[in-house]
Symmetry: C2
Subunit: 351 residues, 2 copies
Amino acid sequence: MGKSYRIKDIALLSGVSTGTVDRILHHRGKVSAEAQQKVEKVLKEIDYHPNMIARSLALKKPYRLIALIPKYESGSYWDKVNQGIEKAKKEFFNYPIEIEQYCFDQYDQESFDALLPEIMPRNYQGFIISTQFQERVRKLCMDLDQRNIPYVFIDDYINNTNCLAFYGTHSFESGYLAGRLLYEQIKPTDSIALFRIIQKKEDPENNRSQRENGFRDYLHKNKYNGRIIPIHLYSKEMEKNEHILESFCHEHPEIVTGVIFNSKAHAISSFFHRKSWIFKLIGYDAIDANIEHLQNGDITHLIGQRPESQGFYSVRALFRYLLFEEIPERVNYMPIDILVKENIQFYKNYL
Amino acid sequence: MGKSYRIKDIALLSGVSTGTVDRILHHRGKVSAEAQQKVEKVLKEIDYHPNMIARSLALKKPYRLIALIPKYESGSYWDKVNQGIEKAKKEFFNYPIEIEQYCFDQYDQESFDALLPEIMPRNYQGFIISTQFQERVRKLCMDLDQRNIPYVFIDDYINNTNCLAFYGTHSFESGYLAGRLLYEQIKPTDSIALFRIIQKKEDPENNRSQRENGFRDYLHKNKYNGRIIPIHLYSKEMEKNEHILESFCHEHPEIVTGVIFNSKAHAISSFFHRKSWIFKLIGYDAIDANIEHLQNGDITHLIGQRPESQGFYSVRALFRYLLFEEIPERVNYMPIDILVKENIQFYKNYL
DNA sequence: CAAGGAAGTGTGTCCGAACACAATATCCTT
DNA sequence: AAGGATATTGTGTTCGGACACACTTCCTTG
């Protein structure tokens, strides 16, 4: 463990003043080629690492981050992401970081567009972007690239961008896992209900459809021989959904299992619960409403995506990049958690 | 967001010097009751939070922690715990923390005893203790209590101690979960092999036996009607084990499923693999050897305990207590992860 | 009643880096 | 050669808190 060098030491070793060393370290220019060389040589020799504590103390102005994520209600998926962000704030309370949140309607691209003109002129050093609207995000990224502002993706990875990092789960593989979890509960000829929520302007590459692909892939590879029956529901009109489900039950009285690739499993399971229809349902995300139904047995499995961790690590990546110039791993697929009645009680609060 | 106050401000507001404020903040004594009162009043009024950056800069001497954990080989369970500790070191590299590791043989209480005289006289401010030998640990704790040194338990909680925190999984519940995972793969009358590794001086309350209790409890509650057949193996004599397993197979040619409550599942599964005997095995811990067998299908489920997180959070708790006087949650049951072929690839490296 | 000690208080330096600004060197005019 | 502009370089202060040390009281005790 070598002793640590200070700016002052470097100055001494290379025969210049601390001011010059500072200028070189921060690429502020106004340094002669000669001094530059001498200092750089010393820097290399001693493998200098600045004392970040001292730096943060001297540095007054806070780093400002923007988080651009979907609106959320308490207990929902994006609320958990937000909790992760808040946790990061606390974790780094020592350091001068500010996070401003801008929320859009994840079912309405225009609400996303509407935010940009408000955000862009503001002053900030980093960006967290939730990637529901890939094409829009692409444009935003080009803008940020030009201004040399680092950004982190959350939820879904977008190719051919210069994002600093990405945190999310592998949609296809999580669907594949859902396939296994469901298939081992049924016979190869049983029908499977596949619940979908209709959205306008659906991105064809969205994570729900990729999960579905993975799901179907698993069944296909394992010689599933039954029918997968899609049911289309609406995101808001609950009475309408009730009717759709009712008539679905009439048409398919034999069906006892299903899957849904978003976090609305609780809506489905509560329907079957009310009908006292024993139904094996697999859903996504350990949000409060789903947890309740998992605990009372109306949902058999949930697939967890560690939303808090996603939020936390997004902030952390930007923070460490800005303060310590640390480059994070770029693509970070988070663990895909299997949650059942028996382990859900312990699933919380760890990042 | 109120502006932040400095020691100097407090001194000014309460009409004393910064030195006095310092003495009060750090309970160093030598302060008149009058000054004490005045300052405390101001402290309360402004809800003072010291600037930790400045504190760490000013503080030169590092905090020294002792980690007392079992010996480990690369890729083993305690190696993962160690990785978590290392991660914590990196995470807090800014702050002056040193961790010294002392390792004992987890199957040999005397090796634990032998370490203590070496450790105790040393100078340290915190202690991480792995709780294999409860009675010995109890004694150690009393000693530490007297000297007012905080300590954290890892692995298993011990009642009636003043530990700062505990990080581990709930053994009984994890066994209960294992019960479910196994039971849903078999019929209520199928026999189940239960592999145990013999240990001398077994603590009757050890986590393996509690896992077994949970396991049996699940089966019992769910009307399991078959036989649970224990097989006793040795921790080191592998040829002997081979024989035992061979004769076990002869005696019970019908058996196709089993469980083991420590991290040696790979030893069992490789035996059945060599015999091309299709066997459903549930084990504990995502250590390298087990992961391999999970991936090729010789183990059906692993129960993960987040050893890295346990190591990481143990250090973190002590660190934050010492530096920030932050009192952590005392009993922390970590998530119990269900790991299968389909999600193991993503299970790593997140704390 | 003076010396000695303890209790209580304030001052000043340090931690290591950032940055504003002062100071010096260099070069070009005229 | 003096004056001015520009390119470099060095100095000093600041960030907020920790701690060593010196200083002041006040109370013992011989």
